[in-house]
């Protein structure tokens, strides 16, 4: 191949590659099987959907219901590990009527979940709180992505898993 032809192909390649790269960078990162516990306006409580993290916003979609939170408006992000009954929902309720207290036995089998809490202020300055339940191990990753996109978090992702030594809890 001659040198001018090589140069033309190289330039053409660069021109084609550059816009593709920028599109890839702006593509939102999605997390599926996310449950909206409460807080989002226009989305019902305990709705299962997808959480998208893009450069400007966090978007939750569940069928036709949709809600966005601007990344710049997020004041804090918290993550927490928890667990839930393996057999839940309607089947879990029916299990209550099972003989020999087998419902209690089934309650011992649990799956890990992550709780993601967002604290943000809207355009009017009003404080909002949103809680999501994510599959185990997903919340720190989502938090990392959000912080990278410009959201504010008072506790870094690395420190969040560590529990404080002193308990300040007081019994009511």
């Amino acid at each position: 191949m001659t040198k001018p032809l090589q140069r033309i192909l190289l330039v053409a390649g660069c021109l084609l590659a550059c816009p593709t790269a920028s599109v890839v960078a702006q593509e939102p990162v999605a997390t599926s099987n996310v449950v909206h516990v409460l807080g989002l306006e226009g989305v019902k409580k305990k709705t299962k959907g997808h959480l998208f993290v893009s450069s400007g916003e966090v978007r939750f979609e569940a069928g036709t219901a949709k809600a966005e939170v601007a990344m710049a408006s997020i004041q804090d992000i918290f993550t927490n590990a928890d667990n839930k009954r393996l057999i839940g929902g309607k089947l879990g309720t029916l299990a209550m009527f099972a003989p020999y207290e087998s419902d209690r036995f089934l309650s011992l089998f649990r799956r890990g979940i992550d709780v993601l809490t967002l604290k943000y202020r809207d355009a009017k300055g009003a404080l909002h709180g949103v809680i999501f339940i994510l599959p185990k191990g997903q919340a720190p990753l989502v938090k990392k992505q959000m912080v990278a996109q410009g959201a504010h978090a008072s506790i870094p992702v690395e420190e969040e898993g560590q529990k404080p030594d002193t308990k300040q809890e007081r019994k009511p």
Partner: protein
């Protein structure tokens, strides 16, 4: 000795009760007189002394707004920091301070039924524009048998809504 007829004693006692009731009625009416306000501003939950997990803090705040809205006693409900609340002429504010928190275990509740309860104790204060307290009450929210730990915040918010219903009436109602 002259005997007092039994009927006259009963009549005298009855008369005394009627008069007492008549005198007491205005005072009682004053006590049950409900407050009126066109708007309420719900402030963020204060948890300086007792550490409350962020999920509980935000759930309590959101549930308070939700339950106060459901009472239908106010035309407008403002959130913490919301602009526009300052312009309201007849505004009351709802402050809540966490006094105690005990995080139970959902697993323990489901397995044992009697153990693993979650409870939150909050001091609720509803004040007028000048900051004078209109309602001062300690409220507790619990999950004893069924439900997730966060349900304690929902139960607590429902109790606060009950207090609002008892003390407020809708403007123009």
């Amino acid at each position: 000795m002259r005997r007092i007829p039994y009927v006259s004693v009963v009549l005298a006692l009855f008369g005394a009760f009627v008069i007492a009731g008549w005198v007491a009625t205005p005072a009682q009416a004053q006590q049950t007189k409900k407050l009126k306000a066109s708007a309420i501003q719900v402030f963020a939950v204060e948890c300086d002394e007792v550490k409350l997990p962020p999920a509980f803090e935000m759930a309590l705040y959101e549930n308070l707004i939700d339950q106060v809205r459901k009472t239908g006693k106010f035309e407008r409900i403002y959130r913490d920091g919301e602009r526009g609340a300052a312009d309201e002429a007849n505004l009351v504010t709802l402050h809540s301070k966490v006094l105690g928190f005990k995080e139970g275990s959902e697993r323990l509740r489901q397995v044992t039924t009697v153990a693993g309860a979650t409870s939150i104790k909050v001091h609720v204060r509803i004040a007028d524009r000048s900051g004078q307290s209109l309602v001062d009450r300690d409220v507790t929210g619990k999950v004893v048998f069924f439900g997730e730990n966060l349900r304690a915040t929902h139960n607590l918010a429902k109790s606060v809504a009950k207090i609002v219903r008892q003390n407020f009436q809708k403007e123009g109602g």
